[in-house]
């Protein structure tokens, strides 16, 4: 009996770690290609450990005058940071409103959020393209920030609402008795208590905006405005694929979300799946 159990434990461990290795393979492979001269990779395969290791691919990708990855990196940050802060602040306000005050047809207003969350980006981009053109915001960072911010509001409001519903109200009530206004209570008490949830929302919204490709593809037209995902997607060569360049670009593009994930994993997971299992 004992023996049988340990045998199945071994099998289970093997399967689990085998799958983990399989899942890590593309990332490991891409990193390997990125730090070796592509000519060598073609001849030897990236899985060999002999040969040269160099950062040439990165230098080439970052500072090539005809496709500056460094520029699009900066662009990504310029767009992603405000597109994270603005919707989180506005959504937290809205979520608090939903959770503490009443209004006719409130539940329908709230349900609208869920439908928006399910809607594909394709459903809004054509009229947005025309609107941004009229507002002279097409091909500008401001325009894209506005759209990312608006698009993020629905899910963050939903997420923060779930959190506020669980937040005990005694402190707020006490402050209200002391004569604090609703706005004061929200900014001085509620937001402070909500830091973990706000951080979770920020981590996910940041990662999503950083990783977005479709909105950028639709609304940023000139190459000097390209964000990193757009830049990497257009790096693919015309006649042959320079995987040295592509892999370095890919690693750079995923570095920021990977770092966030590594450093803030708890918040990341909570933001991504926390709202699916109601606490």
């Amino acid at each position: 009996m004992r023996r049988k159990i340990s045998l199945s434990t071994v099998a289970v461990n093997l399967v689990a770690w085998g799958l983990a290795a399989l899942w890590a393979l593309p990332v490991v492979g891409l990193v390997m290609v990125s730090v070796r001269p592509y000519k060598e990779v073609i001849l030897q395969g990236w899985w060999t450990l002999s040969g040269h290791f160099t950062l040439d691919n990165y230098v080439n990708a970052l500072f090539n005058p005809s496709y500056s990855l460094a520029q699009s990196y900066v662009n990504s940050f310029i767009i992603t940071i405000p597109s994270t802060i603005v919707p989180i602040l506005l959504a937290a306000l809205a979520a608090y409103g939903f959770s503490r005050f009443s209004f006719p047809m409130k539940s329908y207003l709230f349900l609208a959020l869920l439908l928006i969350m399910a809607a594909p980006q394709q459903m809004v981009v054509i009229p947005l393209y025309m609107m941004l053109k009229d507002m002279r915001l097409i091909n500008t960072f401001q325009g894209l920030i506005l759209i990312h911010s608006s698009w993020g509001l629905a899910w963050i409001t939903f997420f923060m609402h779930n959190f506020f519903e669980m937040l005990p109200r005694e402190i707020e009530e006490a402050a209200r008795v002391d004569g604090a206004s609703d706005i004061t209570i929200f900014f001085n008490i509620v937001l402070r208590l909500s830091m973990p949830a706000l951080l979770s929302a920020a981590v996910i919204q940041f990662t999503w905006v950083w990783s977005d490709f479709f909105f950028a593809l639709m609304f940023l037209i000139s190459p000097d405005k390209y964000v990193i995902t757009q830049r990497v997607a257009t790096l693919r060569g015309q006649y042959y694929i320079d995987w040295g360049l592509l892999s370095a670009g890919s690693v750079l593009a995923m570095l920021v979300p990977l770092l966030i994930y590594a450093l803030l994993q708890k918040y990341f997971i909570r933001g991504m799946v926390g709202w699916t299992v109601k606490g």
Binding site: A16, W17, W23, A24, L25, P26, V27, G29, L30, V33, I42, P87, L90, L93, A94, G97, R100, F101, P104, L111, A112, I116, A118, A119, P120, Q122, M123, V124, V125, I126, P127, M130, L146, I147, S150, W151, L153, A154, I183, S211, F213, F214, L217, M218, I228, T229, V232, I241, W243, S250, A253, M254, P257, Q265, M272, V273, G274, T276, V277, K278
Partner: protein
């Protein structure tokens, strides 16, 4: 909670809802309008045109008989995507969430499998290309080593017979981590006494899994199924960077066809019609999602 005036509600909700009204709701209505707009007033011309379209890069479905290797039309491709990707990623996620409880370093395995959710989808698409690459890719190399000849030992993405399935398998790699994480979180919130009691009663692992774990996780499974279907319907980035729907339209998807009408054909009306068709399909899991959320709220 006692009734508190609507003024506060408006104060808190208005800023967010103004942005939503202007930049989300208005364009949604705009897309609906555009899709019905024709030269002679409102009509279904755009819808008829996109459904009857037969050029491989834009076709949604072939009503007169399906060609044998793809292209089958973007809508069919999305359905095939769901039919293969949904059971694979849900099943794998469930089984793994269950067995990882007894694995040393299970949380590391989980973190690794979640990587696909962390990398931008554009990079995910490039990784798929990388894995299938004729010269440096692992997949063709593996099949060559196994002595298989033909397409499987070459770049799967450049043959109409294999491009779609190659992308779908890649998407399993990208998405399974999400389902696994949802199920693990749900499993942790299960009282462990239930499983222990069944073990003492001599139930096999499989019995515990199929009779206790799966039924208990039903709400989490529902959410994961909904999210997976939504993701499959909206798939765009990985197709754009790895095949752009090719070769010969054999791996197009709805979101890509919508983009092709917009950016290549400059036909906003038809592009909007495809967007509406896609949105209607997402409404099915969307409404299901609302019902699940409401059910959860009633329970509280």
């Amino acid at each position: 909670m006692r009734y508190r005036g609507w003024k506060q509600f408006l104060l808190f909700v208005l800023p967010a809802y103004t942005l939503i009204a202007v930049f989300v709701i208005t364009p949604i209505l705009g897309t609906i309008y555009l899709s019905f707009e024709t030269e002679s007033g409102l009509g279904l011309d755009n819808y008829i045109a996109v459904i009857e379209e037969t050029s491989p890069d834009k076709a949604l479905v072939y009503l007169q008989g399906m060609p044998r290797p793809p292209p089958w039309g973007a809508m069919v491709h999305n359905m095939v995507w769901i039919a293969i990707h949904l059971p694979l990623s849900i099943g794998l996620g469930l089984v793994l969430a269950y067995i990882l409880r007894g694995v040393k370093g299970g949380s590391i395995v989980k973190s690794i499998m979640f990587l696909g959710m962390v990398v931008p989808m554009v990079v995910g698409g490039l990784m798929i290309r990388f894995m299938y690459d004729e010269f440096i890719g692992v997949v063709p190399r593996l099949f060559a080593l196994l002595g298989v000849e033909g397409i499987l030992a070459k770049n799967w993405l450049i043959y109409p017979q294999t491009s779609l399935i190659a992308l779908i398998l890649g998407s399993v790699w990208l998405w399974t981590g999400f389902n696994l994480t949802v199920f693990s979180a749900a499993l942790e919130s299960l009282p462990s006494s239930v499983i222990e009691a069944a073990m003492i009663d001599g139930a096999s692992s499989w019995q515990i899994f199929s009779r206790i774990v799966v039924p208990q996780l039903r709400p989490a499974i529902m959410i994961a199924v909904i999210m997976t279907v939504l993701w499959d319907l909206k798939i765009f980035d990985i197709v754009y960077v790895s095949t752009f729907g090719g070769p010969g339209g054999s791996s197009t998807v709805l979101a890509l066809v919508m983009y092709i009408y917009f950016a290549r054909a400059l036909d906003y009306g038809r592009s909007a019609a495809v967007a509406i068709i896609l949105a209607l399909l997402t409404l099915i899991p969307g409404i299901w999602f609302i019902r699940e959320v409401r059910k959860g709220e009633k329970k509280d």
